[in-house]
Amino acid sequence: MSVQDRYISLVAACTLLGASLSLPAEQTSEEAIAEYHAMFGDENPAELWQLRGEELWKTPRGSRQVSLEACDLGKGPGVIAGAYAELPRWFEDTGKVQDLESRLVTCMTNLQGLPESEVLAVKFGDGEQKSELEAITAYVAAASRGSRITIPLDHAAEKAAYALGESVFFYRAGPHDFACATCHSESGKRIRLQTLPQLTTSEGAQAAYTRWPAYRVSQGELRTMEWRLQDCLRQQRLPQLTYGSDVAIGLTMYLARNANGGEMAAPSIKR
């Protein structure tokens, strides 16, 4: 055994000691965080986005002056109940696997005749600049509350999207060597005080996926899964993930499929 090896053992032993000593304190702070969350009750500002989304869904707009009520999210034109819980999925008309947001872009451009540049102008809201896509996503997702996530992965393109998402999940890159898996492949871990879901298991994936979109109190904004992925990748020190890209949809498919059977509870309220 080399000197260095012995020091590693020493480090390991001390680590165990340290961990066992600090356990009660950890529980206290985690309980306190739970109490903080409990104080929000059912009063979630996400409802303000849902209201705006409903208005946008039902208002005739674009060059064709039609509402989104004929938009097919996979369960037939205009059906929103439970639709979010079955996305992403393969769409015959576009020949693509789409998540809710990319599907909404399709409906807004093809069905309503809104220019794509206008639809995509504000993907994510910031203070006075509001995003239509976030509002409509909140409205549609809320119509899946209580629905079970059902991702059968029947179509070959859906399988390919999952495989891509899974590969990206473990892909280590950037100056910090981070992959999604760096923070999300073990259970019971946390960053600072935030518990990290283990996204490789159904339990962890369900806990996370069923609660997006979410109102982020840190930003005072409603955020969608596309935002969640972009922002994780930003913190991984990677470049800008393209909205609606195959990688974004692949990662969403990976998470959604892993969360299969989970009960949708979005929009939720999160840090």
Partner: protein, 202 residues
């Protein structure tokens, strides 16, 4: 690399979700580059992998054999540069700032500002700071428990400089090797860990 290792690693990572779908995506780096765009200092070349990143991606961070383990640690240990003046310990107060700062190298960060080490994201350090993460081991009382033997200092320096020098496919960034922290910042972090006056050792 032996393909049975990959299957084992896959099983370990996947838990109850063992899928038969995991056909490797042929040129993942190119696929990724097509789905990303440059954003300020976060440019597409960050998606290129070095050998350690490639290996750890293939292994999904589960290193199955001592041969592979040694291959990775040897390769990374070779990158570790000791402090130019031979002094490992800087200023613990400056080290506390590095340990508490999470910004640096994100597309949203100001490149003119020093990068953070974000130690608290993953490690317990000063017993008074309760907002610490648990992805890494607790480092509470680090110096108090270990003393300042030159070998102890050299080992800790290596871990900060390049975590993969002892922990292959570690979750911890290779702060010195990848140019995240400057030599002075790493010395300051070392002081935060070892200095008797540092809050870590109270």
């Amino acid at each position: 690399m032996n393909s049975s290792f990959r299957v084992t690693a896959l099983l370990l990572c996947m838990g109850p979700l063992v899928s038969v779908l995991a056909e490797p995506v042929p040129d993942l780096t190119a696929t990724l580059k097509a789905a990303f765009t440059d954003k300020r200092q976060a440019t597409l070349d960050r998606l290129d992998q070095d050998e350690t990143q490639k290996l750890c991606t293939q292994l999904r961070d589960q290193v199955p054999t001592s041969e592979l383990s040694q291959k990775i640690t040897r390769m990374n240990l070779a990158t570790v540069k000791p402090p130019a003046d031979g002094k490992y310990l800087g200023d613990w107060k400056a080290g506390e700032v590095v340990a508490s700062t999470g910004t640096g190298l994100q597309s949203s960060d100001d490149p003119a500002k020093p990068n953070g080490g974000n130690c608290y994201a993953c490690h317990e350090l000063a017993p008074t700071e309760m907002a610490y993460g648990t992805l890494g081991p607790s480092l509470k009382h680090y110096g108090k428990l270990r003393g300042q033997d030159p070998a102890v200092l050299a080992y800790a320096w290596s871990m900060v400089y390049n975590s993969n020098s002892y922990a292959p496919c570690s979750n911890m960034p290779r702060f010195g090797h990848r140019g995240i922290l400057t030599e002075q910042q790493m010395k300051d972090v070392m002081a935060y860990l070892f200095d008797a006056a540092s809050p870590v050792n109270q």
